[in-house]
Amino acid sequence: MDMHITDIKNPEINHENDPENMSLHERPSISIRAKVAISFSLFFILSFTVTGWSYWILTKLETKIDFLEIADNYMAEIQQARRFEKNYLLYSTDLEEALEHLKTADAILKQKNEQIEKILEKEHFKTMVTYMSKYHNQLVLLRSAKNDKEKELIVPMLRQFGSQMVSFAGEFVEKEQISAKRMFLLAKRVPLYFMSVLFVLMSFVLMFLARQLLLTLNRFMEYTKRIGEGDFSPILPARKYKDEFTKLAEAFNHMIKELDHKHNVLLESHKLRAIGTLVAGVAHELNNPLNNTLLTASMLTEDFHTLSEEEKMEMVNDVINETERAQRVVKNLLDFAREGETAIAPLEIGKIVEDSTRLVVNQVKFAKVNLELNCETNLPRIHGDEQKLKQVFVNLILNAVDVLTPGGQIRIHVQKDQTPGYVLVTVKDNGPGIPEHIQGRIFDPFFTTKAQSKGTGLGLSVSQGIIKKLGGYIHLTSNPDKGTIFTVSLPTTESASEIMSK
């Protein structure tokens, strides 16, 4: 009791070292917590990458915009210079203005040289500077030209370099504008892409985690169902790794072990009750040989001197025979009652059923019902525990006896099952049958139709537990007024090993 209290108080219940949990424990551990943590870190890394990229592209855009601004200014200056150059040639205005603008353009280039160089690359920057300086040189030449003739020589060169300078810069500005636009578009789209990728990824992770959780939960639901039906075999690993559910499985296995233990106690208490019933019959059966012995021995003493040798011998033999008869009666009950460990062995089902009928022979006699046993010969042996199987059949026969009125019939058939590898025992009575609405509950523990003093409601529940443990099944078919048939199917030794290993 103390053990249980500490168990409840201590949240870190540890069943890892229970032998039935060894297989559960011997697996690599991937906890649900780790899975969640991994998914969250993945999301974080993804978000971080996208944010970093966004930051980078926006910075790049910023420099591009800066460059475009500078380029715009530069373009304005050189275009202005060319306008003044034209005015000079057409209207002979002052050329100083053109030179002034060119100077400003040059200043821009020099001032922002780093930024421009970054975008244009050194080569192109050099070309640009060269074009401008060539144009500048021509302008200076033009200014210093003495006459129209000289001017006319310079003008074509001037125009060539001027247009080259402007178009080169213009091309670049245009290119940069296109690239900036593209970058904008990308910067606009990437968050959308990111969102969709994130959505897909999240749904996938969610589905994966949910599926794993749900599948495992379903598995545990199956386990509870199985345990409820009396199958107390421990939970075996279903996955290649262990996680928080493994702890649950370990706790389950512990519970199964406890339940199995309790079930065995129940089994024992039910057996005791069956023994109690049988003892009444056995006492009667025992009284006959005892009476015969007592009468014979009494008469032997009384007439010792008058009896012939032959008569004396006959009487002594009677005493021996009757004592042996009593011994057989007691032995049969003792075989049934003996407390023992479950011993699975290959058994002859026919003999077990026959022994069972012999155990209840008095109950059958008292109730004045007929019991008929029909056993196929050459049946394959079955795997089972002799005592427990007898307990099942004794219980089924006693149940039938209980519902029958004098003159009733119990027919027991032992035969091969239609399913290969199984033998079938049917216990059929022609009693009142079991009403349909309680047929579903008939195997439930503590369910009984008998008076409280007569039945514990354990018989069929315990019987089902015994048969299921041996890999067989027990079920009933019952029609009101036509009686009840209980069918027990048990695996033969050939098929039992396969079933047990499942």
Binding site: N287, N288, L290, N291, L295, T296, M299, D303, H305, T306
Partner: protein, 139 residues
């Protein structure tokens, strides 16, 4: 000694009849032994016995049914029941119906002799069972 007591003994265990017959003959009874209740009932139909000793639990027919036959045919006859094991309620029921007495297995021949002596006295034909016993011991 007056006319002997007519006794029918019915038990499906053959040894019971085999041992009790000489035991009862010694106290002056004339004993007919049966193992089959039907044969016994048939015999009862033919002859009036003073005392019928029958086992209760038998296949085919039980002691109470035999008792009913006896009571219908010969109301004067005393019926003694042998039971496998004493069941108070069954005994009370049968006694209420008019069964003379009960004897539970296992019993000694003297136990039955005593009851038969009681029955003989009730019939008005007492037998000196105790002197018979002494005589036997002396012999």
């Amino acid at each position: 000694m007056s006319k002997p007591l007519e006794v029918l003994l019915l038990d499906d265990e053959p040894i019971v009849g085999r041992r009790l017959k000489p035991a009862l003959v010694k106290i002056g009874c004339r004993v007919e032994v049966f193992e089959n209740p039907r044969e016994a009932v048939a015999r009862i139909g033919q002859k009036e016995f003073d005392i019928v000793v029958t086992d209760i639990r038998m296949e085919e027919m039980d002691g109470l049914q035999v008792f009913k036959h006896v009571q219908e045919k010969w109301p004067r006859t005393k019926v003694i029941m042998i039971t496998g094991y004493a069941k108070i309620d069954l005994a009370r029921e049968a006694m209420g119906k008019g069964v003379f007495d009960f004897i539970a297995k296992p019993f000694r021949p003297d136990d039955l002799r005593q009851i038969i002596a009681n029955a003989a006295e009730a019939l008005g034909a007492p037998i000196d069972f105790s002197s018979m016993g002494d005589e036997l011991v002396e012999a």
